[in-house]
C-alpha cells in the first residue's frame, strides 16, 4: 500500500512570497488533514476535509492560508503572503471515512519543511 505523498519536501522562500504544497492521500482514504508543526511542538490542525468538503478549518489563518481538495483526492495548501512565523513543517495525513473507530487512525506523509527568510 502506497503511503501519503507530499511535495516538495523542502522549500525556502522570502517573506511576502507565496508557496504551495501538494498532498496525495492513501487510496480510498476520504478524510484528509493538513497540519502545521512548529519545531518543539505537536501538530496543529489547519484544515480537515471529508472528500472535497471542509469539516474543520477553525485554526486556518484564512487571511493568508487557503486549501482545496477539488476532486476529493489530492489537496493543495497555499500560503500567500508568507510570514517568518510560517516557518514550520507542513504535514498531510489521511484516514478512512466513516463512523467506525478506524477513521481515527491517521497516516502521515513525510511533510514539507518550509523556511521563510
Amino acid at each position: 500500500e502506497a503511503g501519503v505523498a507530499q511535495s516538495p519536501r523542502y522549500k525556502i522562500i522570502e517573506k511576502r512570497q507565496s508557496v504551495a504544497f501538494w498532498c496525495n492521500p492513501i487510496s480510498g482514504h476520504a478524510t484528509l488533514y493538513w497540519y502545521q508543526q512548529i519545531l518543539g511542538q505537536g501538530p496543529k490542525l489547519l484544515i480537515q476535509f471529508q472528500n472535497n468538503g471542509v469539516v474543520d478549518d477553525s485554526q486556518l489563518p484564512k487571511d493568508r492560508f487557503s486549501a482545496e481538495r477539488l476532486k476529493g483526492v489530492d489537496s493543495t495548501l497555499k500560503i500567500q503572503p508568507a510570514k517568518l512565523e510560517d516557518s514550520a513543517v507542513y504535514l498531510c495525513a489521511s484516514s478512512l471515512r466513516g463512523g467506525g473507530l478506524a477513521a481515527y487512525e491517521q497516516y502521515f506523509g513525510p511533510g514539507t519543511r518550509l523556511t521563510v527568510t
Partner: protein
Amino acid sequence: AQSVSQHNHHVILSEAASLELGCNYSYGGTVNLFWYVQYPGQHLQLLLKYFSGDPLVKGIKGFEAEFIKSKFSFNLRKPSVQWSDTAEYFCAVGTGNNRKLIWGLGTSLAVNP
C-alpha cells in the same frame, strides 16, 4: 477546552533503562487515545491505540500504554529501551464525531548506547 499534556519534554536514558512517558488529557466524555512516534528523518507513525476494553494496550516494538480513566492518563511504557527508540513521541486524544485529534507537545527521547 480539550487539551493533552505531556509532562516530560526531553528525556535522556541509557540503553536497557525502563521508560515511562506521561500523558494526561482533559475531557470528560468518551475518548480514544493514541501514541504516535516520529523517528529522526521519518514521518509520524502510529505506535499504539486505545479505543475500549483492556486498558493495557500493546503496540509495536515492545511499547505498551495503560489507560487510567480516573486519572485521565495514558502513559507510555517500555521495560528496556534501545538506541533505536530515539525519537519524538506524541500523545493524541480523539473525541467527537469529526474524528479530530488533539495533540500533546511531544516528548523527545534520546537513548544513549
